[in-house]
Amino acid sequence: MTGLTTATGGADAAARGATGPAARSGPVRPLLREWSRFTPRQRLARWLVWLGVVAAVAWAVRSIDIIPEFLADAPAQMADLLVRMWPPDLGHYYPQVHTALVETLHIATLGTLLAFALAVPVALLAARNICRVAPLNWLAQLVLVASRSVNSLVWALIFVAVFGPGATAGVFAIAFRSIGFVGKLLAEALEEVAPGPVEAVRATGAGWGATMLKAVWPQVQPAFWGIALFRWDINVRESAVLGLVGAGGIGVVLNDAIDFFQWDRVATVLLAILGVVLVAEVLVNRIRARLI
């Protein structure tokens, strides 16, 4: 092929020059070529997109029915709330808030583990370079989207109905919410695996399991641990609110305090959550820096 192209290259160019756009740049016309970033069609499309965005914002503001009086005295209400919260009732922390906080961490950790157990097979099915059956890819994608489309509070409501109120419902809510996130990111990491080493290991006569173990896993390993830490971090925060619908954890304590207007206790709970989230953040960043 290469040889042929060299031989006929000149003729090709000549043929193009006679008919194609190259004709304009021929020696007959002076070189006066214009350049613009977008074609007129693209400009129109971009203008329409902007128009759409403005229209959407206008529509949204009109439809949410802002009550001006409530908006006006919001700062006063906020200040009142803060005054009631101060000073926080720190004596309330032990043992009630503490126990609930530990339960929250357990829910987040167990929920993340369960999520991974469920998400890894789905991710393997969703990755098009691992599973070559298109209907299975679609099915796995559907599972992942379904998991993500339901908020963790809604999952919690469902599992409270199944298991009754308590931490079990919380664990399952966290897990089912996380499957979509973990599965999607994991499937993307799997699809980005360099095909060369996989091909090389396959060529040695390794079976599917050995190829996954020695050629694919080493490549997705950093992403895997990164996703695990990141999701655990998110789950610590998510599981803090699950108690609002009775799925265990610190949210239960928070809900009780709000129901009884014990704002100084609410402040204690909020501070406890803030503390845990901060510690989790620092911890995750440290581990991740070592890992990758």
């Binding site: 290469t2 060299t6 040695t204 080493p218």
Partner: protein, 260 residues
């Protein structure tokens, strides 16, 4: 089914008959290749880019599925194998790649032991409990390729030439009956390329493994191969010893003559 021991004695290591590969139906990349590779030495396949050299090699170990034709490894037909039988056939064929294709995040030793994955059970690979003789052989091969102190280095810490040495050692870990080398030196500088080819030639000769070598560089092909096969537009247009390869043949293989 794997051929019983000794069944393929006397048969040539590789026989290809009427091999056709069409990625797109109706436009064959390989148009009926007939090739028989003898028991020893390097057979170099030369030809322009895109002419099907890589496809030819990958059809042999079925990384690419042939469309038609027969491929025999010591008499055993490979084109219809699947599952376990295919894996058993693949482990008898070593392969060396242009981009080395090492698993970057694994150590050199683990990359070498990847060559044994067709032999060891999965649990051993998982727990890294490879048989002692495999580890012994890996160390011996590291010595042979000149990297005795690199066993615990990660593959991504190596230079290109070092990686290809590991690639060769990994292929030889399989104790292959045939070695396929797909442009093994195209990513290397000229000096390293020669060193790597010398190593490949020496080690495969010692082990008595015939090599099919895809290579761009005609001079290197002449220097290292016992036989040169010229491929052009998916067909063999030259087949003979390096001495017989003349300008006219190169013109037929690559087309044009300004470059000669």
């Amino acid at each position: 089914m794997a051929a019983p021991p000794g069944a393929g004695e006397g048969r040539p290591p590789l026989e290809i008959r009427g091999l056709v590969k069409e990625y797109v139906p109706g436009t064959p990349v390989l148009r009926g290749i007939d090739l028989e590779v003898g028991a020893e030495g390097i057979t170099a396949v030369i030809g322009p880019s895109g002419t099907g050299k890589s496809t030819l090699l990958r059809c042999i170990n079925r990384l690419v599925e042939p469309t038609r034709g027969e491929i025999r490894l010591r008499g055993e037909e490979l084109t219809r194998l699947s599952g376990r039988a295919l894996r058993l056939a693949r482990r008898r064929i070593g392969m060396v790649f242009q981009e080395y294709n090492l698993v970057e995040r694994l150590s050199v030793m683990e990359n070498l032991l990847c060559g044994r994955l067709g032999y060891v059970p999965l649990w051993r690979a998982w727990l890294r409990r490879y048989p002692a003789e495999d580890i012994e052989r890996a160390f011996a091969l590291l010595d042979a390729v000149g990297l005795p102190d690199y066993a615990t280095q990660r593959a991504d810490a190596l230079s290109g030439g070092q990686r290809q040495r590991v690639g060769i050692a990994r292929a030889l870990m399989q104790r292959p009956e045939l070695l396929l080398a797909d442009e093994p030196t195209s990513s290397l500088d000229p000096k390293t390329a020669v060193e790597v080819l010398e190593l490949l030639a020496r080690l495969t000769e010692e082990a008595g493994v015939p090599v099919v070598l895809n290579i761009h560089n005609v001079e290197l092909a002449r220097r290292f191969a016992r036989r040169i096969v010229g491929l052009s537009q998916g067909a063999i247009v030259f087949d003979g010893p390096p001495e017989a390869l003349e300008t006219a043949h190169l013109r037929a293989i690559y087309g044009g003559e300004d470059w000669l």
